[in-house]
C-alpha cells in the first residue's frame, strides 16, 4: 500500500505492507535512524515521535496509519546547523548516559514545552512518565528540560 507522509517537513512516500510498524518505516525504509526501538511492547517510549504534533509510540502505530500525517523526529530538531535548546540542555546537564532513551525523551519534552512553556518539576516528571530511562535516574533529564524551558523563554 502506498503511504504518503511528511517527516520533518519533507514529503516522502513508500509502498509498504499494512503490517509494517511506523518505527520500522522510519528507520529502515526512510533510513532516519535516530528514533530507537527499545522494548517493542509500548512501555519504554524510546520510539516516541510526533504525529500531527502529539507524541506517540511509533512501535505501536502501523505505517499505513500515518497516511497524510505530519511526523517529526529528532532529525528535525536541529535548525541550520544549530542544535535545539533541548539538545543543548541534554548536553549541558548530562541528561543522558547510554543515550538509548534520549530520542524519545527529546520528542516528548519538545511537544510538552510547546504546551507548557514554564513547567514545574512535577509537570516535567508527569510529562516524561511514559518514557523510561534505565541510566540517569531522571534528575538530569528534568534539569535538561528546565534548561531548555529557560532558553526558549529567552533567558540565559
Amino acid at each position: 500500500m502506498l503511504v504518503k507522509l511528511a517527516i520533518n517537513g519533507e514529503k516522502h512516500q513508500a509502498d509498504v505492507e499494512p503490517r509494517l510498524l511506523l518505527v520500522h518505516m522510519i528507520r529502515e525504509v526512510l533510513r532516519l535512524t535516530v528514533t530507537h526501538i527499545g522494548c517493542d511492547t509500548t512501555h519504554c517510549g524510546a520510539c516516541t515521535i510526533l504525529m500531527d504534533g502529539r507524541p506517540v509510540k511509533s512501535c505501536t502505530v502501523f505505517a499505513v496509519q500515518a497516511q497524510g500525517k505530519e511526523l517529526m523526529t529528532v532529525e528535525g530538531l536541529e535548525q541550520n546547523g544549530k542544535l535545539h535548546p533541548l539538545q543543548e540542555g541534554f548536553m549541558a546537564e548530562h541528561g543522558l548516559q547510554c543515550g538509548y532513551c534520549t530520542p524519545g525523551m527529546l520528542m516528548t519534552s519538545y511537544a510538552f514545552l510547546k504546551k507548557h512553556p514554564s513547567p514545574t518539576e512535577d509537570d516535567i516528571r508527569w510529562a516524561i512518565s511514559g518514557n523510561l530511562c534505565r541510566c540517569t535516574g531522571y534528575v538530569n533529564i528534568v534539569k535538561a528540560v528546565q534548561h531548555a524551558a529557560v532558553k526558549l523563554a529567552g533567558g540565559a
Partner: protein
C-alpha cells in the same frame, strides 16, 4: 515483533465501516487507538485477517453536554479527556480516571471507546462507567442501539457488541446539583494496570443523604464489577463514617480477585475495602463542595 499479515481498510463513513464489518464478519477487527490491539497483534495473540481503521471517519471525537447527557465520542483520546475543562470541573470521576490510564504518550492515541470495547477487566474506564450509570451507543448495519453499561460487559474481553457493530458514543446522565465522584487506583508504577481500583459516584439530596450511588471495581474479577450491595447500603443514608465503612466491606466482599505478581487475594480484597472508603469520602467531600460554591 511483527504482526501476521492483514488487509487494511480505512473507511471514511460509519456506513462504509459497518458494511465492511458485515461482509468480513469475525475475520475483521476495528482499530481505534491501537494501544491494545496492536500489542496483541505483535504478540500474535490476535491475528485478524482484516483491520478496519475507523480513525478516518470524521465526527467521532468530541466531548459535549446535550439532551440530558454528557456525550463522549468513541474516538476521543484519553489525553483529550484529561485536558478537558468540562470534564475537570463537572466530572471529576472521569478526570481522575483519565489521568491514571497507561502513560501520557499512550493516552495520546488510546480512545475511550476502545477502552470499553476491549473489555479488559484491568481497564479503568469500565468501572468508572459502571459507577456513572453510563450507556453506550452502538451502530450496526440495521441502525443504532443503546446499551446500558451494566449489561455491556459479558465476560473477560467480551461485550454485547456484535461483530458488525461499532461503538460510537458513551453517554453519562448530566450530574444533579450535588453529584460528584472519585477514582482511586493503586498501581505499581505509571503504565501498569491497577492492583485494584475503585470508582464511586454519589448524589446527595437536600438533607445530605445519598440519593444515587454508583460503585465500580477494576481488576478484581473476570469482568469489571458493579458493587450493587455496597451501593444499596448507602442509598437513602447519611454518608457518615459507619455507613461508608459498611459499604466498603460489602465492596470488598463483591470483589473476586485472583493472586498474581501484584498481590494475594486477601491483600487485593482489603485494598478494595480501603480504596472504596477513600473514594466515597472524596466523592462526598466533592459533592458537598458543589453546594457551598453554588
Amino acid at each position: 515483533m511483527i504482526p501476521a499479515a492483514f488487509d487494511y481498510h480505512a473507511p471514511t463513513t460509519i456506513g462504509e465501516a459497518t458494511a465492511l464489518l458485515t461482509r468480513l464478519g469475525d475475520d475483521a477487527k476495528v482499530l481505534s487507538g491501537g494501544q491494545s490491539l496492536i500489542p496483541l497483534m505483535k504478540l500474535r495473540l490476535a491475528s485478524p485477517a482484516h483491520v478496519v481503521d475507523i480513525n478516518g471517519i470524521p465526527g467521532l471525537a468530541y466531548i459535549r453536554e446535550g439532551e440530558g447527557f454528557l456525550r463522549i465520542g468513541a474516538l476521543t483520546r484519553e489525553s483529550e479527556l484529561e485536558e478537558s475543562e468540562l470534564i475537570r470541573t463537572r466530572y471529576p470521576l472521569l478526570h481522575d480516571t483519565s489521568k491514571v490510564i497507561a502513560d501520557p504518550v499512550v493516552r495520546n492515541l488510546a480512545t475511550v471507546g476502545g477502552n470499553l470495547a476491549h473489555a479488559d477487566p484491568a481497564n479503568d474506564h469500565p468501572a468508572t462507567m459502571l459507577a456513572s450509570g453510563a450507556e453506550v451507543v452502538a451502530v450496526g448495519p440495521k441502525g443504532e442501539r443503546r446499551i446500558p453499561i451494566a449489561s455491556f460487559f459479558t465476560g473477560p474481553f467480551a461485550t454485547s457488541l456484535r461483530p458488525d457493530e461499532i461503538l460510537t458514543e458513551i453517554r453519562i446522565p448530566l450530574p444533579a446539583a450535588r453529584s460528584r465522584g472519585a477514582y482511586l487506583k493503586l498501581e505499581r508504577k505509571v503504565g501498569d494496570f491497577a492492583t485494584a481500583a475503585v470508582a464511586a459516584q454519589l448524589t446527595l439530596d437536600a438533607g445530605g443523604r445519598c440519593e444515587e450511588v454508583g460503585i465500580g471495581l477494576t481488576n478484581v474479577g473476570l469482568t469489571p464489577i458493579k458493587a450493587a450491595k455496597a451501593e444499596a447500603a448507602l442509598k437513602g443514608k447519611n454518608p457518615d463514617e459507619a455507613t461508608i465503612k459498611r459499604a466498603a466491606e460489602l465492596a470488598a466482599e463483591a470483589s473476586e480477585p485472583s493472586a498474581d505478581l501484584r498481590g494475594s487475594v486477601e491483600y487485593k480484597k482489603d485494598l478494595v475495602r480501603v480504596l472504596t472508603a477513600r473514594a466515597l469520602r472524596k466523592a462526598v467531600e466533592r459533592a458537598q463542595g458543589v453546594t457551598t460554591r453554588a
